[in-house]
Structure formats: structure tokens, C-alpha cells
């Protein structure tokens, strides 16, 4: 990640995009929609409380990149003689196609809808993810020569297997929205299943909603439902939560965005029944709850009625595989989920693989992509007669970043800027059309500040004890008291007698072998190291050095490729 952040800092947006595309395939899409599992891990948060806006920086690179066609992998004109069928055109299948086409596989995608993208198209609203952005990145993959068949739901896996594909990948997602079986549920047509309703909106079958809307559930689907309602005529929109704040499934930023748009989030209300009179939905009855401190046990205080013209159920998704026959050697558990190997993504029938939401239930796009990469490795192995368990290993490289005395190949200064705030389209303009993208993206100054917040965590301090003369220069210069020269000891005790106490127990501390002159150890607590390189600059003997760590992630047909190939262009 720091790699592409540095490229953005240098204005090399196309290079940054390509580095990013290698692993995540959809930088422009994810730069707008990612669940950001990486941001809590970002070490910047340990210093000033807010991680680098990694996700939104991806979008900057994607929006400003130039032509990439010449940088994409070459697609062989000849087939390698192997045929692979992918079911569903969501991000997981598209990633498999992206990895296999350059190897000469004939790839056929069967898609139920008349357009590609899966939930990215049918459920993520266009005010978060413009259609153009989706078309662009999905198109890049389909243009690799993928045979995609629209309006082609697979209704029998047996049937497909009869066509003698060399491998089949199931990327059909978790297509079924959960029901809420309460009195009155079937007495009206104004109660909608969230993901189906969003799909109808996306495909233009629904273009309005009543003024008073209740959304049941407070996950990310609920956020998309309430904000879409706001754009289709909803005025009084309430998202109904059973539990108090802090226990919601929705990401904090999605909640913020919804509340900014005037959506009410109502806590501690459990749905009791739908009130329908003469086939007309009047509203819903709820039990008001009081929770204990951990929000584990609740007590009903009273009951309330809330009026509504429409109710949208957004309480989760389920998998459903009615089209997979149960006598094909594919094992299912008692909840109807397939048995899928965590490493190979293969089902119990060799040659049939699962990935994305279809494998273990609903997750997110970045996981679907990661599954796709791994499944592609397995499919490649399977087709080449190599055991699927025989997986290429991750590699790594460590390269010094020293360019001269007090000169580094990276920008080593620390920028004290706070995390930049994403600008939004004004509220007055935002609702005029369903597809007005709300987030404006970072402007150039914000981008410049945000990239400099990155602490270059891939550039590691590397120590060679035999060179150290124990002059203390590194210990004295370190701005964040990472370093100590002291007698070695048992870790938990050692942590207490460092230049600053090492309180983050999740961060291992480094202790060198005995130093030549006194036999003490050089100890480093990495916790808040800002990788400024001053320890290495002030070291007279180069006992400390700043070295760039490259993780070489293998992809199908390209063991140990990964970011390294782009690294050289950065250093050049």
C-alpha cells in the first residue's frame, strides 16, 4: 500500500493504479465502496487517531490515471485448450477471468442478469458508485476476450457439467434477502426485501416510494435503502435498530452519510407487527427495549406505533443453491452451505470451486476479489494436472533505500496533517437525480496532504549488531522513543524499561543479539516508528539501515510476481 501511496505523491497516477490493480483489480470501484478492512490496521492511527484515507486515495489514482491498455497483461491469441465456466458475473468471477485469460484459458461467464457486475451493479446505489466507473473496470476484464452470456441463469449444475468444462467456478453470491415473518407481512405489497428492492431501483423497475419509510435493520444494506428512499420521494425516513449505538453493523462513515441526509436512526426498537388495514399498510408496531450495559440482555419498556407508507427489510442475506443437484459429489452442510476448502476454494468435487459470497456467506468486494485470485491459482493447477494444494509460496525482498549520505529514495519526513475530510455534493443538489455521486473525491491539495500522512510502513529499519559501537546517536535522535540500548531480558519485563514503555502488546518488540562492546541489546519497539530514517542517518557505522520490504504475492501462472515488477520503475 505505501508503494502506491508514494506513487500518488509523485503524481504517477497510472503507475499507482497498476500497482493497486494487481491485487485488488477494481481500484476505482473499491476506492469508493470498500469496507476498508485495512484502515484499522494502519499505524498512522496510533499517532494521531486517524488512519490514512487509503481507500479514498485509491480513487484519486483511478480518477486521474491515463491510458492503461498498454500496461495490461497481453492476451494470447491462441487458446491453451482448457475451458472454464464461471457462474455469476460478480467481482469474484470477474477476478478469476482477469487472472485466467492472460494464460490462454477459454473463459465463459453465465450471468442471470442482462448486465455484469453482480451486487456492485444491482445493489450498490449509483450515488455511491457511478455506472460509468463500474462499466469501465468491469469492461477492462470482459475486453480480455471473455465469453459472457447474459440472461443465462444456470438452473442445473449437472447440465453445465455435462458440457465438459475443465473447471467450474461458482460465484453466484448470497442472493436471498432475509424475511421477517411477523403478522401482516403478506397483507400488502408495500413491504420490500432490501436487496431485491435495491436491484429493482438499479434496473429502473422502481422509481418512487412513499413519504414515510421505515427501514428495518441497521447494516450497510439499510444505509443504501434509506439513502435511496431519500432520492425517490421519501421524506420521513427512519432506520429502526434493535440495539443501541456502537452495536450497529453499518460502517461508521455510512451512518454519518445517512444522518447527514436527514435520516433518523431510531435505537432500541424491536419490530412486533405490521399494521395493515384493508390491504393498506398503515405502519408498524415496535417494542421499546432497555438494554444492559453490554447490550446483551434487554427488557421491554412499552410498545409504540410508527406510521409508514413503505417498509424495507434489510436484516441480512442468505445463500441459496436450489440449482445445484445434491448428488454431484458436492457436499452441503445442514444450513445448505457447501463444504469449501479455505485455502484452495475447491468443493468436495474436484474441479468445482466456490468463491465470493457464495463460499461462506456475505462479505464484501475486496474479499470476493481475494477469493477470485486464490481460486484462479487452484483452477490453473487443476487444469495443468498439479495438485491444488501445491500452491506457490509468498516471497519477499528487502532492498536498502539509501541513495547517499542523508538521502533516501522515499520521502522520509513526517507530515503532521490531520486526516483530510471528504467533500460532499451540497445537500440541495444531491437529491435531484438518483445517480449524482455524493463524494467529490479529494482535491489536489487534500491528496498531497493525505499521501504525506503515510508512514511508509513497508520501509523497515534493519539492524546489524556487529557494526554497532553503542554511540547512542540513534537512541537520542528517535522522535518517538522507539529505541533503547539495555541489557536483554524477558519480554514482558523488558517492555517496562525502554525509552518509552511498550504498551501495545500486539506489536512484538525487537531485541538484537548482544552488542560487541558491552553485550547489551539494541531493542526496538516498532509501535509508533514513523520510518523517518533518522536513526539510520545518525548511525556512524550503518548498523541501522532503511530497507524496503516487498511482499511478493503469487498469482495464477505468475508465482512471485506481484508488486516487485513495478518497484523497479519506482526506484528508477
Amino acid at each position: 500500500m505505501p508503494q502506491y501511496i508514494r506513487l500518488i505523491a509523485q503524481g504517477k497516477y497510472t503507475d499507482a493504479y497498476m500497482v493497486n490493480r494487481e491485487s485488488n483489480v477494481f481500484p476505482a470501484i473499491l476506492g469508493r465502496t470498500c469496507d476498508r478492512p485495512c484502515e484499522p490496521a494502519c499505524r498512522r492511527g496510533r499517532l494521531d487517531g486517524a488512519p490514512v484515507a487509503i481507500c479514498r486515495l485509491k480513487r484519486v489514482a483511478a480518477d486521474l490515471k491515463g491510458d492503461i491498455s498498454h500496461l495490461l497483461p497481453k492476451i494470447p491469441t491462441e487458446s491453451n485448450g482448457k475451458r472454464v465456466a464461471l457462474i455469476g458475473a460478480g467481482p469474484s468471477s470477474l477476478t478469476v477471468a482477469n487472472d485466467l485469460r492472460p494464460l490462454g484459458y477459454e473463459v465463459t461467464i453465465f450471468e442471470k442478469q442482462n448486465k455484469p457486475g453482480g451486487l456492485m451493479r444491482s445493489n450498490i446505489p449509483s450515488f455511491r458508485l457511478p455506472e460509468k466507473v463500474l462499466d469501465d473496470e468491469v469492461g477492462t476484464i470482459l475486453d480480455m476476450g471473455v465469453d459472457i452470456r447474459y440472461n443465462s441463469p444456470v438452473s442445473s449444475l449437472q447440465g453445465l457439467l455435462n458440457d465438459k468444462y475443465d473447471a467450474v467456478f461458482v460465484g453466484t453470491g448470497a442472493p436471498r434477502g432475509k424475511e421477517l415473518d411477523l403478522p401482516g407481512r403478506k397483507d400488502t405489497d408495500r413491504i420490500h426485501i432490501g436487496i431485491d428492492w435495491l436491484e429493482s431501483v438499479a434496473f429502473g423497475h422502481i422509481d418512487k416510494i412513499g413519504e414515510r419509510v421505515l427501514i428495518i435493520g441497521v447494516g450497510n444494506t439499510a444505509m443504501d435503502c434509506c439513502r435511496s428512499s431519500r432520492r425517490l420521494g421519501g421524506k420521513d425516513i427512519k432506520v429502526m435498530a434493535r440495539r443501541p449505538r456502537g452495536y450497529f453493523k453499518a460502517s461508521p462513515w455510512e451512518l454519518d452519510d445517512a444522518e447527514e441526509e436527514g435520516i433518523d436512526i431510531v435505537i432500541n426498537h424491536a419490530p412486533k407487527r405490521f399494521v395493515v388495514e384493508n390491504g393498506v399498510l398503515k405502519g408498524m408496531e415496535f417494542e421499546r427495549l432497555e438494554w444492559d450495559a453490554e447490550a446483551k440482555k434487554s427488557r421491554v419498556i412499552d410498545e409504540v406505533f410508527l406510521p409508514a407508507d413503505d417498509v424495507i427489510l434489510a436484516i441480512g442475506q442468505e445463500n441459496a443453491f436450489p440449482w445445484i443437484e445434491r448428488d454431484l459429489g458436492i457436499e452441503f452442510d445442514k444450513w445448505g452451505m457447501p463444504t469449501v476448502d479455505k485455502a484452495t476454494f475447491q468443493s468436495t468435487r474436484p474441479g468445482v470451486f466456490f468463491g465470493g459470497d457464495a463460499a461462506w456467506g456475505p462479505k464484501n468486494i475486496i474479499w470476493a476479489v481475494a477469493h477470485g485470485h486464490q481460486a484462479a491459482i487452484s483452477i490453473h493447477n487443476h487444469c495443468q494436472g498439479v495438485p491444488v494444494t501445491d500452491r506457490p509460496k509468498q516471497g519477499s525482498n528487502l532492498v536498502s533505500q539509501k541513495m547517499g549520505i542523508s538521502e533516501w529514495s522515499y520521502h522520509n519526513d513526517y507530515n503532521p496533517s490531520k486526516r483530510q475530510k471528504m467533500q460532499h455534493v451540497e445537500l440541495t443538489k444531491r437529491f435531484q437525480q438518483l445517480n449524482i455521486e455524493v463524494e467529490l473525491g479529494f482535491d489536489p491539495e487534500q491528496t498531497a496532504r493525505e499521501v504525506q500522512r503515510c508512514l511508509n510502513c513497508d520501509i523497515e529499519t534493519v539492524f546489524v549488531e556487529k557494526r554497532c559501537i553503542e554511540c547512542d546517536a540513534c537512541v537520542d535522535i528517535c522522535p518517538v522513543q522507539c529505541l533503547t540500548i539495555t541489557r536483554d531480558g524477558e519480554e514482558s519485563e523488558l517492555r517496562t524499561r525502554l525509552s518509552a514503555p511498550a504498551t501495545n502488546l500486539e506489536q512484538a518488540i525487537y531485541a538484537s543479539n548482544p552488542l560487541p562492546q558491552t553485550g547489551r541489546a539494541m531493542v526496538k519497539d516498532e509501535d509508533v516508528c514513523v520510518h523517518c530514517g533518522l536513526c539510520a542517518e545518525r548511525c556512524p557505522t550503518a548498523a541501522w539501515d532503511m530497507q524496503k520490504f516487498d511482499l511478493l504475492i503469487p498469482y495464477a501462472g505468475a508465482p512471485n510476481s506481484g508488486v516487485s515488477c513495478t518497484t523497479s520503475s519506482v526506484l528508477a
Binding site: 499517532l47 546517536a473 514503555p501 562492546q517 533518522l534
Partner: protein, 350 residues
């Protein structure tokens, strides 16, 4: 010169002293010395000592002469007063400044060249007058700034970088100060902050001239095999004569008492210097015993510790019976009573 200034990022648990300042508030600008120079480590020790003493930055004056060592006052306490004098002349400036403002803490930083060659006479007279100052002699056995010539503290036989041995006898600032009647004499090593920081704290509270001779290796010109001022040689030959701890006024002495005996010396401001380790029969307030002890140690030993202390000797102001009010606070008419008064005084001598 480092590529960047020290980042303002700090450790989340960074502590504050009684004034609400962090140790970072006691820093100066970035050092331009060679990476690994002992002088930088002494700078870090000074920063720590001042922070731990809750020193108010504007109540400190830092003064120096010429040399790499003399550059270092720029690298600590940017909020203090400062004066960079001519080569070897720092003591004269401190004497004048001290006369005008007796309330400031004077920190003089010098080198072995600055102090023991061109400035030797100046240093001797500052000792003689018992000027109230901490005199930190950053001793590397060479003229670092002028590229490594032997200095007057270089030991006989110590080799230059090119391999030539020094033939002239060294001047030992500790012995010199002892013989001149200095009232606080210590030696330490830049690579031993555990010892150096408490010594500096004691020196900063001493009411008189406090000499702290600190062996401070010059990594560029005098850290090779054959040098007697290298990191390695110093570590190998250090003989820690005393371990002193500075204990603030009104606090209990909790330091461990070791087998080799213990002794405490009350300082003028009510603080106490507590010696947790001293050799048998060693009395840090008895000049002759200290001299005898030094005579008994092997020739190559680098004897360190707070070696001699006399907290009660009169300083320059007491000797000269100068105004208890700092001159800077006296009204102009009092400081300069006019030509009639001058006339009258001169008349007295006619």
C-alpha cells in the same frame, strides 16, 4: 546534515515535567556534527538533565568557544540565552554575564582544544574565581573541527588516525582543577548517560564552578584502534570510582546502599548528592584523599564519577561582595551614579 528536522511526532505516553514541558521542549536545532559524535550524546544528556530538573528555559544561558563541541549549545534548549565566543574565551564571557545577572544558570560547553590549549588561562581563572557555572569539557583528544590534530589532552602513545603516536604529556583537566581548588570536579563518558545525567544535575545545582570532563569520542578522527579516546578503549578502561545520584530538596533518599560504602553531601539549595558507591576510605569532600586515590589507579584507567565536591566554598559574588540584586535589576541611576560621583571617588585616591 540530516535530511529532515526531527519530526514533531511524539510517543503517545510522552511525559511532562512540573512546568508542563516535555523533553522535546528542551531540544534545539538539528545537530550538524558527524553522525555518532560523542558530543551529540552529551547534548542529549544535558537535555534530559534540564528537563528532569524542571529548568525554566529562559533562566539558562549557554555559552561556548570554538570547536565541534562549542557548536553544540545550538542543539539544546532553543528557549535559552546563548553566546558563542572567540576560541577559548567562553570563561571571560560567562564571568561578565554572571556578574551582570547572578540568577541565570550558566552552562559553558567547551572542548579539550578550546579549554586546554588556547583557553587554558581562561579556564584556570574561572576556577580560581569559583564562577557559578557548569563547565562541560567535551574531551575527545583531538581538535575535531580542524580535522583531528592531537590536542593537549591526548595521552602519550595514543595513535593518530595515520598511526603516529603522540609524544607529549597530556594535561588532565581533573587533576588541574583539583590543584587549582575547583569546588566540583567530575569525569564521565558520553556513552554512559546513566552516570552522566545525575552528574549534570548535580553540576547544574552547584553554587560555584562545576567542571564536568566528559570523554566524548570523535568518531571521524579519533575512534580507531590505538586511540585512547575511542568508544572501545574508554569502555574497556573505565573505572567508575563513584556513582552519584542527585536528590531534589526535601525528598527521601531511597538509593541502595552498597557494600563499598555510602556518603551524602548536602548542596547549597537543599538538594543532596548521594553517593551510592564509593571506594573504601574515599571522601569526595577531601581534596587530598581524592588526589591520592587518583594517584593509586593504573595509568590507563579512565576514572569516572563525581570525584570531588565542596558545596560551601564562596563563589565569585561572595568573594567580591557584589550586589545581591542582579545588576540587570538595578536602576540606571544606581548602576551609573554620574560624573559628580566619579569625581568624588577619584578624589579619594588623590
Amino acid at each position: 546534515m540530516p535530511s529532515i528536522a526531527k519530526p514533531i511526532a511524539t510517543h503517545p505516553t510522552l511525559q511532562r515535567n512540573a512546568l508542563g514541558l516535555t523533553i522535546r521542549d528542551y531540544e534545539g536545532s538539528m545537530s550538524t556534527l558527524c553522525a555518532g559524535c560523542g558530543h551529540d550524546s552529551i547534548t542529549a544528556a544535558i537535555i534530559r538533565a534540564l528537563w528532569e530538573l524542571d529548568t525554566q528555559p529562559h533562566m539558562v544561558a549557554k555559552l561556548s568557544g570554538i570547536g565541534c563541541s562549542s557548536k553544540t549549545p545550538t542543539y539544546f534548549l532553543s528557549g535559552a540565552h546563548g553566546f558563542n565566543s572567540a576560541h577559548g574565551r567562553m570563561p571571560a564571557i560567562v564571568t561578565g554575564a554572571g556578574a551582570a545577572d547572578r540568577d541565570l544558570l550558566y552552562i559553558g560547553v567547551s572542548g579539550d582544544g578550546d579549554s586546554l590549549s588556547i583557553g587554558l588561562g581562561q579556564m584556570c581563572h574561572a576556577i580560581r574565581r569559583n564562577i557559578r557555572m557548569a563547565y562541560i569539557l567535551e574531551n575527545n583528544g583531538v581538535y575535531g573541527l580542524t580535522k583531528g590534530q592531537f590536542s593537549a589532552s591526548s595521552d602519550i602513545g595514543s595513535k593518530s588516525k595515520r598511526g603516529e603516536p603522540n609524544r607529549m604529556a597530556p594535561i588532565d583537566p581533573v587533576r588541574l582543577a583539583l590543584s587549582l581548588g575547583a569546588t566540583f570536579i567530575a569525569r564521565s563518558f558520553s556513552g554512559d548517560k546513566e552516570q552522566l545525567v545525575p552528574i549534570l544535575k548535580a553540576a547544574f545545582t552547584h553554587r560555584g564552578f562545576a567542571l564536568v570532563d566528559v570523554v566524548s569520542p570523535c568518531v571521524t578522527f579519533n575512534d580507531h584502534e590505538g586511540s585512547t579516546k575511542s568508544y572501545k578503549h574508554t569502555r574497556k578502561n573505565t573505572l567508575r570510582a563513584t556513582q552519584a545520584d542527585w536528590v531534589p530538596p526535601q525528598s527521601e533518599i531511597l538509593a541502595q546502599i552498597s557494600k563499598s560504602g555510602t556518603t551524602s553531601v548536602a548542596m547549597h539549595d537543599g538538594s543532596v548528592v548521594h553517593f551510592s558507591t564509593v571506594p573504601k576510605d574515599y571522601d569526595p569532600t577531601d581534596r587530598r584523599k581524592v588526589a591520592a586515590y587518583l594517584d593509586d589507579q593504573p595509568a590507563n584507567a579512565v576514572v569516572t564519577g563525581l570525584l570531588y565536591i565542596d558545596p560551601n566554598a564562596p563563589d565569585m559574588h561572595e568573594l567580591g561582595q557584589s550586589s545581591p540584586t542582579p545588576l540587570r535589576d538595578l536602576a540606571y541611576e544606581k548602576l551609573c551614579p554620574g560624573s559628580a560621583e566619579l569625581e568624588r571617588m577619584q578624589e579619594e585616591f588623590r
